[in-house]
Each structure stands twice: as structure tokens, then as C-alpha cells.
């Protein structure tokens, strides 16, 4: 076998290992429930970024988490090859920071609510969880044939302008789960 081919195979193995490691390290678990016709989503993110977040917050920086949710309707029939239709998209995100005056970790949700935690463990668990997020505009009666893709991105450091320009580059403080697919039917719980 040529040297070049050996090198390419080696690179592929390394790349595969990196992918597998990252998949194992950061993953999202999602589940849905139904309340009065509304559909509520709960997502829990398991991340290897705990230490990175702790260090960032203690340095006076902010961390950021984004839950990307996409609802699709399966296409059937003649035009199925065109792909499934995107029905709705949600990107709830929260920002976390440390309040040095009260010595607590604060989560500021996409709704503008602030919650303080004295314990980092409790804070981190809450921060990585999207709890009972109502999928606005989606009703239980219409979800048959729908499925959902969920992904979570945790940035241990929330970049502020002008450093947002760095978001184009691979960033070691970024933890990203793979897309999780789940059917929109009662009692669904997928990994």
C-alpha cells in the first residue's frame, strides 16, 4: 500500500474517533408531553463542558446555550423526493453568568426571567435543560406525520461584539450535540 493511502486511512480513523468521542461526550435527550392540545418539549443536554462553563463564569464571562428545534412534516406520494416540509423552527436560548455580589450563578432565559443558584451543580443541571417548552402553533391533533429534530449547542463563552467574528471558527469552548430525531407522538422519549 502506498504511503499516501496509509496516511489517508490514518487521518480517517482519527477523524472517526474524534466524531465518536464528541458524540459520546455531548448528547441531547428529548421528550414531549401534551397539555390541553399543546405540545411541550423537554430537552436535557449532557455535556462535557462543565469545567469550561465553570471557568468562564468565574472569569466574569457569560455562557450561552441554544436549543435548536425543527418540526418537519413527512412528505408522501409523488413529490416525496423533494424532501420533508419544515413546519416550524424554534431556537430558545439562555445566558448564564455569575453574580459576584450575591455570589450566585444566574440563568437568564429567553423569556427574560432571571434565576439565581448558589450551587453550581444545580445551576449547571438547570442550565442544560429545556423544561416544558411549549411548541407554539403546534397542536396535538395535527402532529400525526410530524417529526422533530433537536440539537443543543453550549458555548462556554458567549462571544460579544466584535469577537462574534470568531464564531466562524472552530471554538474549543463550544459543545454541540448531534441532531436527535423523534416522532411527535405521545410518550415519545428518544436519544
Amino acid at each position: 500500500m502506498k504511503k499516501t493511502n496509509c496516511f489517508l486511512i490514518f487521518l480517517l480513523i482519527i477523524f472517526g474517533c474524534v466524531i465518536l468521542f464528541s458524540l459520546a461526550a455531548d448528547r441531547a435527550v428529548a421528550g414531549i408531553s401534551f397539555y390541553n392540545e399543546s405540545v411541550a418539549l423537554t430537552v436535557t443536554f449532557t455535556s462535557s463542558g462543565k469545567q469550561a462553563v465553570l471557568e468562564a463564569l468565574n472569569d466574569g464571562l457569560k455562557s450561552h446555550i441554544t436549543f435548536s428545534i425543527k418540526i418537519y412534516e413527512r412528505s408522501e406520494g409523488l413529490f416525496a423526493f423533494l424532501g420533508d416540509r419544515l413546519v416550524a423552527e424554534y431556537n430558545p436560548s439562555s445566558v448564564a453568568y455569575k453574580d459576584f455580589f450575591d455570589d450566585e450563578y444566574v440563568i437568564e432565559s429567553w423569556r427574560g426571567e432571571k434565576t439565581g443558584f448558589k450551587s453550581f451543580e444545580q445551576f449547571f443541571k438547570t442550565f442544560l435543560t429545556l423544561n416544558d417548552f411549549i411548541l407554539q402553533g403546534i397542536e396535538e391533533s395535527e402532529v400525526s406525520g410530524y417529526y422533530m429534530l433537536v440539537r443543543v449547542q453550549l458555548d462556554s463563552v458567549k462571544l460579544i461584539p466584535p469577537f462574534t467574528i470568531l464564531s466562524f471558527l472552530p471554538f474549543k469552548g463550544r459543545f454541540l450535540s448531534p441532531w436527535v430525531r423523534m416522532e411527535l407522538s405521545p410518550s415519545t422519549y428518544h436519544q
Binding site: G60, D102, G116, P161, I165
Partner: protein, 596 residues
């Protein structure tokens, strides 16, 4: 023949590219802050714009440059005229572009590096950290003082007179701990029993709903109300069987929270700068290069087009000069600009036009002079023997008259017919010679203002009734058109043209005569058209139609159209024709409206 400039569409494309790029840069400058803010939020507009500038535009420009380089190399390989000069021009333009771009880029990079690493930035970072540390120390001291005071053993003693004399308690508290700014007492039912405050700001320390804090004894979390931050301590006071809840606290200086928030934001900025400085520096320089790279590419591409713009007229002039040198005076260069090169091209075109006219005139003059000489010689040579022939024939005739009574009838008839034939033929020859003579001695035109319509009508009237199947239609001739011509000569022109037209229509037809006003360069002309619906002129003889002594008619002298052409030229005019077989022939005559 016309040489056109072919680079117009390319110039438009280039102009569109330049405008498009400038527009994008303009948008980026105008909305820089918003773009930086949205750059990480996958904003489609920002992404499209950046993608266009950084990727699409340079690719398009690179392709255009490669195409032009290949074209130039081909031109050089094929040793196309002007290729070397064009290369030199392009290299010169690129050199000029790089001359400004390289120092500018270097200076910008140095500037970016120096700004990010400047002493000011480092000091500012230290200042912000120190300021925040001071604020934190201040807050902690106030908070700890309050907590310490709340937990002190002295407090129950100080509060002992709360049910009877809360005012006294307030005074005592203030004496012992001057930092306390308000006091609020609730009874066991949670109803407010007493409240006092040091000042208006401290009045905001009053708690409205006791049930919210009833289970939170001790130091309460800081409370932000507008620009005021309040620290509170809740103490449970038990006096015998009675229980009171005493809430006291202090108000931090106005705007404390906002200021510390600003300091926190500043510290966040400096911390990020410290964390990402090297990467940020690198990315900024890359972005700067990516944004300025298309400008450089545009400059190079512009240099190709500019070189082409400069070379093209010179190249065209070179081709045209060669053609003129080869004797082609019909060549003209089209120019669309109005610069010095364009003026040069116009001058060249004018010079070639004048050369062409001069050549035509010279040829015509030579032709006429040659034919005049031939006609005179011919007339002279033929005329000399004609007189003795005629005299001899007349003498025979007279002698015969004297003898005819004696001779026989047969001889009489032979001599009669022979003599008549000699005389007839001699007269024909005489007429022919007169025509030649007339042609040779055509006088200078006596030009005056003549009403064209009247002249045409008069000329046409002579032929109107010549045959029942020939019709002459005079159309579109303004009754007020006055042309500066020799009346008699132009009457002869129309007579000749109409006679030719009638002869071209043996089975009958219509002759149309019309006149229009046209402008060529700066001269106004009257364009007269005489059109017949006859058999047309054979392609093979079109060249010779105006040649003297050329005719297709039996017994014709072949001088009619030569005389017409000469009269028109004498009037500084021009004559030509268009003819199609079995459809008809149209003669065009352009006569200047003013006398030169």
C-alpha cells in the same frame, strides 16, 4: 467599411461589478455594528453578503482575470499588433495598484496589531478590574456589616423597646450603627407596625407584603428598584409572648447596580480580548485581506480593460492606416468617446473622406479629360473626310439632275438611292459628332435658385404623352424646394433620365419622381429619385453605365448618362443608382442646397 470598438459590453459588466462591490462595501460600512452583532446569529442577510464578498466576487474576478491573461498570452503568441504595448500597460497598472495596496495593507495590519496590544488596552483592563474589585469590596463590606449587626447579641437589647417606643429604638439603632437607613416593624400577623427612613431614597426600603419574606429570616437578597439597590436584614424579635419582625437595612449609592453592570460588561470585554486576542488579531487580518483582496482583483481587471481601451483605438488606427496605404479609402473608424484619441480618430476619418473625394474627383476629371480629347480627335478625324464626301455626293446629285432626262430609269434609281444614303449617313455622322463635340465643350453651369417641382414638371411634360402605356408620377416634391442649379443643364438631366426610363419599359409602366431633403455631415442636400418599373440593368454592365460611348441601344451614342453624371458633378453633387432585374431602376441625385 467600418471598424467598430468591441469592448463596450465588457466595460458595462466591469462597471456593474465595481458598482455592486462598492454598494456591498457601503452597506457594510453603514451597518457595521449590526453586522458584527448578527454575525454569530446565522443572519441570512449578513451571511449572504459576506459570502458574496469573500467567496463569490473573488471567484468571478479571478475567472475574469485568468480569461484575460490567457487572451493576452494568445495575442502575444500570435504576435497580434499592440499585444506587447498592452502587456506593458497592464503590468504598469498592476504595479500602480500594488504600489498603493501593499503599504496600505501592511500599515493596516500594523495598526490592528498595535491597537490590540497597546498599553492603553492593558491599562484599561487593569482599571476596570480594580474598579470592579473596589465596588465588590464596598458591597461586601456593607453586606457583611449588615449581617454582622443582625447577628450581634446587642440587637435584642437595642430592640427591647420596640412595642412601646419604636422611635427611640430607631434613634438607638442609628447611634450604634449609622449605616442603617430604614427600619420597618411587623407584628406577628404580618401587619406593619412601624416604619421610618433616613431619607427619600431609604423610604424605598419599605417592604409591602410581609408574607413574601416571612420565612426568610436573616440577610435578604439585594433588591433593585430603579437605580436604587437595597440591602435588608429580617430579625425575629420575641418579647414575652409577643413576636415582632424587624426589617432594617441600607440603600447603596444611586446607580450602583447600573455602574457595576457596566463594569462587569467592560471586564467581560477585556477578558474576552485577553482570551481571544491572538485568534481575533489573526481573524481580523484575514477578514481585512479578504475584503481588500477583491479590490486588488478589481484593480487588476480594470487594468486589463483600461489597457484595452487605450490600445483599441491605436490598433484600429494602425489597421486603417494600412488599408489606406493599400488604396482603400472607404475605411472608417467608429469612435464612441470624446477624448483626444477620439478627436484623432475623427480627424483621421475626415482626412480619409477628403482623400476619397479627392481621388474620385481626380479620377472623374481624368476620365472626362481623356474622353474630351478622344471626342475632339474623333470629331476632327471624322469631320475632315465628311465634307468632301458630302460635296462629292451633292455634285453627283447635281450632275445627275442635269443628265436624268437622257439616261435610263434603272440607273436613275440606283444613283438616287445611293446618293440619298450617302447624304443621310453623313448627316447621322454629323449629328453624332455634334454630340461628342457638345460633351467635350459642356459649358460651366450657370447656377441660380430654381423651383425644383416646376423644373421636374416641365421636363416631364415633354414625355407625358409619348406613349399611352407610360405614366409619370411626381410625388413628394415640396413646391417650395429651391435648388441652386443650371436650369438648362438640369432640364437635360431629367430629359435623359426620363428617356432612359421610358426606353427601359417597352411594355409600359410608371415613372416615379420624388425629392427629399437629407443631411450628410454638415451639408444639406436635395435627394432626387427617378424610379422606373422597367427591365432593370444587367449586373454585368452596372459598372459601365456612366462610361461615355457605352450603350445597349441600337443607334445610341452612349453619352446620355455620361452627360448627366458630368452635370451633377459640376454642381458638386453625386449620382448613383440601384437596379433589380425586371423590377426596375432608381437613379439618385444628391444636389447641395446651398452654393459652396
Amino acid at each position: 467599411m467600418r471598424i467598430k470598438y468591441s469592448g463596450r459590453s465588457s466595460s458595462i459588466i466591469l462597471l456593474v461589478l465595481v458598482i455592486f462591490y462598492m454598494l456591498l462595501i457601503g452597506i457594510i460600512i453603514l451597518f457595521f455594528q449590526q453586522i458584527i452583532l448578527t454575525i454569530s446569529r446565522s443572519n441570512p442577510f449578513t451571511n449572504i453578503m459576506i459570502f458574496t464578498i469573500i467567496i463569490i466576487l473573488p471567484i468571478i474576478l479571478l475567472i475574469a482575470i485568468i480569461y484575460n491573461v490567457i487572451k493576452l498570452l494568445k495575442e502575444r503568441t500570435s504576435k497580434k499588433s499592440g499585444a506587447r504595448f498592452k502587456t506593458r500597460l497592464i503590468l504598469f497598472f498592476i504595479f500602480i495598484a500594488l504600489l498603493s495596496a501593499i503599504p496600505q495593507t501592511t500599515l493596516s495590519i500594523i495598526f490592528i496589531n498595535s491597537v490590540l496590544n497597546s498599553e492603553v488596552v492593558i491599562r484599561m483592563s487593569d482599571v476596570v478590574n480594580n474598579a470592579l474589585s473596589i465596588a465588590l469590596d464596598y458591597y461586601n463590606s456593607k453586606s457583611m456589616n449588615l449581617e454582622k449587626f443582625g447577628k450581634s447579641d446587642l440587637l435584642p437589647y437595642l430592640l427591647r423597646e420596640t412595642p412601646t417606643s419604636p422611635e427611640k429604638v430607631w434613634q438607638t439603632l442609628r447611634d450604634v450603627n449609622p449605616e442603617i437607613q430604614f427600619l420597618q416593624v411587623f407584628n406577628s400577623n404580618g401587619e406593619e407596625y412601624y416604619f421610618t427612613a433616613e431619607n427619600q431614597d431609604a423610604e424605598q426600603g419599605r417592604w409591602e407584603n410581609f408574607s413574601d419574606i416571612s420565612d426568610k429570616l436573616g440577610k435578604l437578597p439585594k433588591d433593585e428598584r430603579g437605580d436604587i439597590t437595597i440591602l435588608r436584614y429580617l430579625y425575629k424579635l420575641t418579647l414575652g409572648r409577643r413576636t415582632y419582625f424587624v426589617l432594617f437595612g441600607l440603600v447603596l449609592p444611586k446607580g450602583f447596580d447600573q455602574k457595576t453592570t457596566q463594569l462587569s460588561a467592560a471586564r467581560e470585554l477585556f477578558t474576552q480580548l485577553e482570551l481571544f486576542k491572538d485568534t481575533f488579531q489573526f481573524v481580523i487580518i484575514i477578514f481585512y485581506c479578504l475584503f481588500s483582496f477583491p479590490i486588488l482583483l478589481l484593480a487588476i481587471l480594470v487594468s486589463f480593460f483600461l489597457a484595452e481601451e487605450i490600445i483599441r483605438p491605436i490598433f484600429n488606427l494602425e489597421i486603417a492606416t494600412e488599408r489606406v496605404a493599400q488604396g482603400d479609402f472607404s475605411i472608417r473608424i467608429l469612435s464612441r468617446s470624446s477624448d483626444e484619441l477620439s478627436n484623432l480618430i475623427k480627424s483621421f476619418n475626415r482626412m480619409v473622406s477628403e482623400l476619397e473625394i479627392s481621388k474620385k474627383k481626380l479620377l472623374q476629371a481624368e476620365k472626362i479629360a481623356a474622353w474630351q480629347e478622344i471626342a475632339q480627335r474623333l470629331a476632327h478625324e471624322i469631320k475632315n473626310p465628311l465634307t468632301p464626301i458630302k460635296l462629292s455626293a451633292q455634285r453627283i446629285q447635281r450632275k445627275y439632275e442635269d443628265l436624268k432626262a437622257h439616261d435610263n430609269e434603272e440607273l436613275k434609281k440606283v444613283i438616287e438611292s445611293s446618293v440619298a444614303a450617302i447624304i443621310g449617313e453623313v448627316e447621322n455622322l454629323n449629328k453624332l459628332l455634334k454630340d461628342f463635340s457638345d460633351f467635350a465643350k459642356l459649358p460651366e453651369p450657370r447656377q441660380e435658385k430654381i423651383n425644383l417641382k416646376k423644373l421636374v414638371k416641365e421636363a416631364a411634360s415633354l414625355y407625358n404623352n409619348i406613349a399611352s402605356n407610360i405614366k409619370i408620377e411626381i410625388k413628394n416634391i415640396d413646391a417650395n424646394i429651391l435648388v441652386f442649379i443650371d436650369y438648362n443643364q438640369f432640364k437635360q438631366v431629367f430629359a435623359n433620365l426620363l428617356l432612359n426610363a421610358i426606353q427601359a419599359m417597352p411594355s409600359g409602366g410608371t415613372i416615379f419622381i420624388r425629392a427629399d431633403l437629407v443631411k450628410k455631415e454638415k451639408t444639406n442636400y436635395c435627394r432626387i429619385q427617378v424610379r422606373d418599373t422597367g427591365v432593370g440593368i444587367e449586373e454585368s454592365i452596372k459598372q459601365s453605365v456612366f462610361d461615355p460611348y457605352f450603350t445597349t441601344k441600337k443607334g445610341g451614342a452612349g453619352l446620355g448618362l455620361s452627360i448627366v453624371e458630368r452635370i451633377v458633378f459640376d454642381h458638386k453633387g453625386n449620382i448613383w443608382f440601384e437596379s433589380q432585374k425586371n423590377i426596375g431602376t432608381t437613379f439618385f441625385i444628391d444636389i447641395p442646397m446651398e452654393k459652396e
